[in-house]
Symmetry: C2
Subunit: 453 residues, 2 copies
């Protein structure tokens, strides 16, 4: 009898694993249960669909369930929710909403994803308040803008993370007044204060009403939301997006006695294996190991999910393959700015991991000083004082700034010191960089600081 | 008495060393002899001055001799050529064209640069033929275009290297017909055939008359050049630029008995020291160690020169500092394309260094498939079959393609394998990259090839 590889969840991690396992070992019987309607869709593209930059919601779907079936031989079953795992008997219980069924497995992958956090705020359930997470949310928001009704003129956004910043741009693109509320003192907290400040200035220049250090106390109105309430103010809005972060869907695993780590994600080893034999976890529901701290972390991003899924697919098909460490590398577009980060920037996190962090921030040009079209780039670099190892970085700027983070991400994977990074032979020509790329200049300045102190 | 640090040559390497030595040890007496008129100028900017993208030749000068003197306390003497070194007596002979003088040193840096190769072609001395290398050449070409005379309508270019490709764009920008002649089968030879082919298609689309595998046999005309002659053709031109590469200025060192390596550049160790005590060499006249082969190489590029100069300045001032290895990383703009390379791509060079090279080339999008404004990116990656170590890469594309090479350059410095590169956590968001950056996809495909064969 063929081996059964059962996958719970049909998005990035799940479909990557299913595809890789089937390709590497076509004899394997691969079954994917997806409780929703879509598989393999690009959640990261939703703000651009709302913005109208992407025309059609279907454009965000990489491959349809039908294509997975006919072209890749994968048994994709949408509208099917796995409600229980029995690791003793190697079986899962599956519900279609009405009836339940059982499915046995030889290998099982939990790729159950994450859910948007619903903050306990009065009025969260009013019409027009969207806790954006899946395709249906994106469709609803776009319909609110493009539909037959009175189009919204003013948008409130809770949270200045990726989703908040991207949605601010999306709404502005559609001509709405945008009010962005962030409880912390800065937007994009994981990018550090130096980078966040540059983004904040830019958001304000673009007309965003940015309210930092401001908690939302309620969403006022009747059936529909009409106001965002804070302790001191009441701001009229027609639509609200809540971007308060995501949390791993780990209940299914926990109920089956599978270990869940302190962050709330399914605990995994370097091959994505859980505490149960032949049960793997990957993507937004699972832990990943951080390349800088060596500790488990939770990075609910697309590459982490795709990479781990693919590795687990290879492992299941017979070639044990590590899922790879994560650096927490991320990039986000904020109107004209490219904003990126990698590694550990936050000093408290660094100290908890046993480092003594030192940070330098520099601002330089993106091109040779005489070459037109350049813009400022600000690079923040953090290293450990004793070992001089690079711990993390962030970059912000308008002209090819963002992907410069990749050189630092590579340095993190290599465990490079600041001096080593400073001597990387990075590309220079007048249209693309000063002779010393801003990343190198940041390393040089940080190196000087490490020597001085 | 103060220590004397004497620098021969006032461009990137020389002025970086002078500035760093003086800053780190203000007691040092720093004297720079520059035989020309300019110091610290951006030779890389000359094509953009010809193109008119840069208005003024002075814009290419980072710091003037006067500023070096008054602001940095460096005794810069232009129009002074060092004609002889006496390492026994620690003295150099200096000529101002009329008289000679002697100058003693405690430490000496040779930063004599390189000269443009003058190929033995009939008619090379005709008016209108420019063997472009220094600021005077750039000025002459621009004056030919903007001056009072009949403006040139047709330009011939010898050589499809950086200078040739950049000058093709510059002339096209000024409305000239451009004929580019390259003896080899491809332009941009160090970037590999796969990348070169993409560039060639683009040059032709931009209207460049590209003649590959074609040697120029003569520059015809009377006083002024009127024709480029090949074995089979005669092409009418009004101006010609010769970009046949550069060769190190190592004669001064050789005549003093200082070791010159097989490539013709001054031999140096990891601190930039030559075979003579207290004599250093850096920049276009000197060897650098290649990070992949560990062997001496000659990389006449700006970052190599700046970095080595700065390191030698620090060493001379009392802190021994390695000059750093080079990866041969380079980037060039070719009209709308960004073209970059790093490391060892050429299979013959790789085999000479003891590797068994395997190459993969992939073409992918620069952005998520649904996000507008993306373009194709082609990545070529070479690795050693046995160790699976990454040896080199090239990248070409229109949309933020070029600086992607930096992640691979970092991988080379780290000695990473293809599998390690494949697991680098590089930045993804729809406006900037597919989930798997094209560099990662190239690593994945190459990894598969290494496993298969």
């Amino acid at each position: 009898m063929e081996r059964q590889f059962v996958v719970v969840g049909g998005d990035a991690a799940g479909m990557s694993a299913a595809s890789k396992a089937k390709r590497d070992d076509p004899e394997t019987d691969v079954v994917v249960f997806e409780r929703g309607e879509w598989v393999s869709y690009a959640a990261c593209g939703m703000p651009y669909y709302v913005a109208g930059v992407v025309d059609d919601l279907d454009d965000l779907v990489t491959i349809t369930p039908e294509e997975f079936r006919s072209e890749r031989g994968i048994d994709v079953r949408t509208g099917r929710e796995v409600t229980e795992i029995d690791p003793e008997r190697n079986r899962v219980t599956v519900s279609d909403g009405d009836e339940t069924d059982e499915q046995s497995y030889d290998d099982l992958l939990l790729a159950t994803g994450a859910h948007a956090v619903r903050p306990p705020i009065d009025g969260l359930d009013r019409d027009g308040v969207y806790v954006i997470h899946d395709m249906a949310d994106a469709r609803a928001i776009r319909e609110a803008i493009d539909g037959d009704g009175e189009p919204p003129r003013s948008a409130g956004i809770l949270g200045g993370g990726y989703v908040g910043v991207e949605m601010a741009e999306a709404f502005a693109e559609r001509g709405l007044d945008v009010h962005l509320f962030e409880m912390l003192e800065h937007v994009l907290d994981p990018f550090g204060a130096e980078t966040a400040s540059v983004v904040e200035d830019h958001l304000r220049e673009q007309g965003v009403d940015l309210r930092l250090g401001t908690a939302i106390t309620g969403f006022g109105g009747d059936d529909r939301v009409e106001r965002v309430e804070t302790e001191t103010d009441s701001v009229p809005v027609d639509v609200v997006v809540v971007g308060a972060g995501v949390a791993p869907n780990a209940d299914l695993a926990a109920e089956a006695g599978i270990e869940v780590g302190p962050i709330g994600a399914v605990a995994t080893d370097e091959y994505g294996r859980t505490s149960e034999a032949n049960v793997y976890a990957a993507g937004d529901c699972a832990e990943a190991r951080h390349v800088v701290t060596g500790e488990p972390t939770h990075v609910p991003l697309a590459l982490t999910a795709n990479r781990a899924g693919r590795a687990i697919g290879a492992t299941v098909a017979g070639t044990p393959t590590p899922v790879g460490d994560v650096a927490g590398t991320a990039i986000v577009k904020a109107f004209d700015l490219e904003v990126a980060r990698t590694g550990v920037l936050d000093h408290e996190t660094a100290r908890e991991a046993g480092f003594d962090p030192v940070t330098a921030t520099i601002t330089d040009r993106s091109r040779a000083h005489y070459y037109p079209g350049g813009a400022e780039i600000t690079v923040t670099l953090t290293a450990d004082r004793e070992s001089e190892r690079v711990l993390g970085a962030s970059v912000v700027g308008a002209d090819r700034a963002g992907k410069r983070i990749d050189a630092v991400a590579a340095a993190l994977h290599a465990g490079a010191t600041v001096t080593e990074l400073e001597r990387f032979d990075l590309a220079y020509a007048p249209p693309f960089s000063p002779v010393w790329d801003p990343v190198l200049t940041a390393a040089r300045v940080l190196d000087g600081r490490l020597d001085d102190e």
